[in-house]
């Protein structure tokens, strides 16, 4: 099983705060991970550590057994990291691709053509002359063409229009086949609905929840519920809000029936009932 492993990983920015103390987390092949958390909890730091851009100040991060921070060519060729913000060289995407693609043994020219078409990419204009949305689409097309085992995408849908967001969904769904994994961090949780099969929620103390969508739907119930219903269980919902249509929210799932998972509500529950969620999913505290 191919994995990226965080083992008791700590990270402290030189002039800033401690982001992680003893983070332990395993990413496995063949999944689409959604990485959620409020600003500043370390979503981008986590990706940078996996990509070997940052060196952990404690513990280790390994990509398929290789220490990420050593940036060995064989390990780096298995991973493509798309930062949230990036500056690009004064090259067109086609030239950039010619220069960079040999680094990825899994690169496919055929996939490159297809991804450029699907994302409607401008290929012959210098990347630094393109708008933010155009640059993002260009780099995404390249990312999907690398065929890398691990795609780490930090806020990939920021700045994309509706058509590009749809193309993005299709490309991720296609990519995640064949045992490859995609990690997506996002604030727009609606955009990863039905695309991810595993969620990781972080807060300032570390991991709040690390579970598959199937497990979440088995342990929690999402949707409308009546007051009598949860008074019977002698427990508060993890999150509830009243709307015109009644009360909707997240409760513990006491039935045998798997619930549909509403990622937005789950995220709200993780903010309101953080420790209960940790306990329910047996998440180890740092």
């Amino acid at each position: 099983m191919k994995t990226i492993c965080f083992t008791n990983t700590g990270y402290r920015y030189r002039l800033g705060s401690q982001v992680f103390r003893t983070l332990s987390l395993t990413l496995s092949e063949g999944h689409v991970y959604g990485l959620l958390g409020e600003n500043g909890v370390g979503k981008s730091t986590l990706m940078k550590l996996a990509a070997g851009v940052l060196i952990p100040t404690a513990g280790s991060v390994t990509i398929e057994g290789h220490e990420a921070s050593r940036r060995e060519e064989s390990a780096m060729a298995k991973l493509f990291y798309l930062p949230e913000e990036f500056s690009l060289p004064a090259l067109s995407l086609d030239t950039y691709c010619r220069v960079t693609s040999p680094f990825y043994p899994t690169f496919s020219a055929e996939a490159y053509e297809l991804c450029c078409k699907e994302l409607d990419v401008v290929r012959d204009v210098r990347l630094d002359k393109l708008s933010m949305g155009q640059r993002k689409r260009a780099l995404l097309a390249f990312a999907f063409a690398t065929g890398a085992q691990w795609l780490l995408l930090d806020e990939p849908t920021n700045g994309l229009d509706v058509a590009a967001k749809e193309a993005f969904r299709r490309l991720v769904a296609r990519y995640a086949d064949e045992g490859r994994s995609v990690v997506i961090s996002t604030h727009s949780v609606r955009e990863i609905d039905s695309l991810v099969d595993h969620l990781i929620i972080l807060d300032r103390k570390g991991v709040v929840l690390d579970a598959s969508i199937a497990e979440i739907g088995t342990r929690l119930r999402f949707g409308r519920f009546s007051a009598e219903e949860h008074s019977k269980w002698h427990e508060e919902p993890l999150f509830a809000e009243s709307t015109l249509a009644g009360t909707t929210g997240v409760t513990v799932n006491h039935s045998d029936e798997e619930s549909a998972v509403d990622i937005e509500m789950l995220f709200m529950a993780s903010l309101r009932s953080t420790e209960r969620l940790r306990a329910l999913f047996n998440t180890k505290n740092e």
């Binding site: 689409v32 086949d177 039905s194 695309l195 969508i213 949707g223 798997e258």
Partner: protein
């Protein structure tokens, strides 16, 4: 085109139901090949593992069958199987709910039958 899902059922179940609809409508014909997991995932923009869950259940329920090395096929008798399951759920779940609703609105069964016949004739 990506698919819009409702929030009352897990997504794998909605894909399972959608496949059933397509068997009933004749879109998927018995004995013919059906799209693969990856084709469906890419087409509707859904996680392949989720589509896989639907497909596993479809195979377990004898709606689809895998023929080694060739792919997945719609089983012979699939349509009748789905219809039987859905009819059962209609009579055991939906009809009692409808009956409750009719009581609430004070509608007699005879009235309903008359209206139904009218609708059918349109």
């Amino acid at each position: 085109m990506t698919m819009i899902f409702s929030d009352d059922k897990p997504i794998w179940q909605q894909i399972y139901d959608m496949a059933g609809d397509r068997v009933i409508s004749g879109d998927f014909r018995e004995g013919e090949r059906v799209p693969s997991v990856r084709e469906v995932a890419a087409e509707i923009g859904v996680n392949p593992n989720t589509v896989m869950r639907s497909y596993e259940r479809l195979q377990m329920d004898g709606i689809f069958e895998s023929r080694r090395g060739i792919g997945l096929f719609c089983s012979v008798g699939a349509r009748e199987k789905i219809l039987a399951t859905r009819r059962e759920s209609f009579f055991c779940e939906q009809l009692p709910a409808l009956s409750e609703r009719m009581k609430q609105l004070e509608i007699e069964p005879e009235q309903l039958v008359d209206e139904l016949i009218k609708i059918r004739q349109q």
